[in-house]
Symmetry: C2
Subunit: 413 residues, 2 copies
């Protein structure tokens, strides 16, 4: 069963001037899950000829081409013109659409700049896609059985518009192609070990496509295949899922979009436990990740950023003697910080991180990358883990947070 193919065109000079392209990762993930095979991505300048050429190249190979950006009201928003040129179609002003845009602005009591009329220009044959979060409507075009989808650039407008049009995309290109996708998210395991364990699964499923990604101490493994029927797809997914979890289940913290902080939060909530943190070299990043989860106030109380040793003794009650004897970067200090966080904040559990993030501050005994993470609670349980992390400062800090969250996750088992 041949999966339908998709390609991306990201429009905007800012993407070639230092802005990070997050659309590529977001759209790739969603399209693959819906059964599409990703062929490629191009980032192009705000230039009609360049955008049109990229659209034509993408349409020559892909069933569905998703274009993001360039639908704003200014002179350098040229995606509409480029689409008309690429498909050799007209571009015309739609008074009804213009009235819709005016109505939206009126609702927010805003004056409409005359230049916004550009946003009511529609490519011949396009279906206009409503934008409930901004002024730029999207457009869906069909040509020779393929789709050219024009979406706005801002994520808050693009994400919901894409989700709304995805069923149509699936109907047009992936009908009869029953997609089965499964992703598992792992922590506490190096990519190479996970990769090796998953080798036999890959060997047993030559018809599936697999990807393994490692980032910030987490590993995610994706499997996707297409089947002839919905029943066959469901059955294949179930078998794949079982085989993958048999291979690496002990390291799994979640499936699909379930981050480690989400998975830990769900366990805490289920057990009715609260958590506090104590952070030295990570300076608050663990608390930042825990509170990235909406609703985390149900189990996360807060914590202490004990960057200076004086804060470790004063706010966390780490004994000065302990610091003098073992140093701030030690298993003993990490454990004392975890206990201190738990006690000073009044939580059921404490999680702590202390280490040498670098690039300076390393010694022979305590080199850059040496990190201790510790968990205190629930009850009398205690755990400490020693890590030696290779990489620059941000990598050391990111992986330290993942290790501490994983230690806490295992403690609530």
């Amino acid at each position: 069963m041949r999966p339908p193919k998709a390609a991306l065109v990201c429009v905007g000079s800012e993407l070639l001037a230092g802005q990070i392209n997050t659309h590529q990762a977001w759209l790739s993930t969603r399209l693959r899950r819906a059964g599409f095979e990703m062929l490629g991505e191009e980032s192009v300048l705000d230039d009609v000829a360049a955008i049109a050429a990229a659209m034509r190249r993408a349409l020559a190979k892909a069933d569905a081409v998703i274009v993001c950006g360039g639908l704003g009201p200014t002179f350098d928003d040229l995606t509409r013109e480029a689409a008309a040129r690429a498909l050799k179609r007209t571009l015309s002003f739609k008074p009804a659409l213009w009235r819709e845009i005016l109505k939206r602005f009126a609702r927010y009591r805003m004056k409409v700049p005359e230049q916004n009329k550009r946003q009511a220009m529609v490519v011949g044959g396009a279906q206009v896609l409503e934008n409930s979060n901004g002024s730029a409507p999207g457009q869906r075009l069909r040509a020779a059985g393929r789709t050219l989808l024009l979406l706005p650039g801002p994520p808050s407008e693009m994400y919901p518009m894409f989700e709304a049009v995805l069923p149509t995309l699936v109907r047009d290109h992936a009908r009869g192609v029953h997609a089965a996708a499964f992703s598992v998210r792992l922590s506490g395991v190096p990519e190479s070990i996970a990769d090796e364990r998953l080798d036999p699964v890959r060997a047993r499923w030559p018809q599936a496509r697999f990807t393994i990604l490692a980032s910030g101490g987490e590993v995610s493994f994706h499997a996707a295949l297409t089947a002839r029927s919905a029943t066959a797809a469901r059955a294949a997914r179930e078998r794949l899922r079982r085989e993958i979890l048999d291979a690496v289940g002990e390291f799994a913290h979640g499936e699909g979009d379930e981050t480690l902080e989400f998975a830990l939060g769900a366990r805490l909530k289920r057990k009715g436990l609260t958590l506090a943190v104590a952070e030295s070299c990570t300076g608050g990043l663990m608390g930042g990740r825990l509170t990235a989860v909406a609703g985390s106030s149900a189990y996360f109380l807060g914590g202490v950023i004990s960057y200076a040793n004086s804060v470790k003794t004063k706010s966390l009650g780490v004994p000065s003697k302990l610091l003098a004897r073992f140093g701030a970067v030690s298993a003993e200090c990490a454990a004392a910080m975890a206990r201190g966080a738990r006690k000073s904040i009044g939580a059921d559990m404490g999680a702590a991180i202390t280490g040498v993030a670098g690039p300076d501050g390393g010694t022979k005994e305590k080199p850059v990358g040496l990190v201790f993470v510790a968990v205190s609670g629930p009850g009398r349980a205690e755990a400490v883990k020693r890590l030696e992390i290779n990489g620059p400062r941000d990598a050391v800090r990111g992986r330290a947070v993942t290790a501490a969250l994983r230690l806490a996750f295992d403690a609530v088992r």
Copy 2:
């Protein structure tokens, strides 16, 4: 003076499976600063034909083509083969290079897998680029006056290799093209206001290329032009710099790569002041950003993550009466948190954030996006700022941190 043109090819199926492409932004920034004009970027699958086609397309339009990724030792590392195919050159095993790779592994007392021999395959006519941070050597190829540069994918290997080869790239393509680039970083100002103020500067410099980027509450503005001589370039840069700072200098916190947390740290260090934080809805992100700066322990002591109200009263001394009367999301609470952080941590200054990050928890009086940031100190100084931030949870939190850091930056003036 025509600037030389550059294009990027990013190799790796993971880039079309959810991995965020950070090379594009990093390389674009550096190439532009060195006087190159960026033409475009393509992300391609690990497929020889696809990589070779992207290389040929890029070489047809750009003077310098930078290829990242696909130089590893495994079967899906195909950039070497693709370059040989794109340039119609040989690919041959270099025993001397293989001995170098063996030596490197020996230094780390590691066994060398046989498959790593692939990394000693060199495209005909290539200059081999040493990799001091990994096993994959880079390759620099010249063809018809153009450059095809093959760099490894991991940032820790790619960044230093690119920096080392950049002078050669400039010599080959930008000789006699004297680049003048200036970037200013702004905070505490909406992009639209900065943009409007900079309009006259753009109008006076039709020969320059400008980009304005907004992200997480910060705005950066880049100007680049090329001149006939180094003296002319220096003079133009100086004039541009003065005009830009005349227009938006009051919002500037830094130039080039100077982040707001770096700029605040530099001011604190110069004045010999220490800082503590108190964070509610940001859960530690402000501390995380402050400690992203290497050496921040010189001025940052730590802080309290007071996510729950009990932590605000207990660890920060915010009066329960104040919370009952004004609520946790109030100017009064923010100010009390800043004072509490300063006092409990023993710092010269305290910075605090409290707000409704959403998506839930908003009310009519305290809607999602309502945030108060406050600074206490140095001395008797106090400042509070009220913000209404549009956007999803992560945008609210990111901009809240920027606003708090900016308030602290202004307080140390």
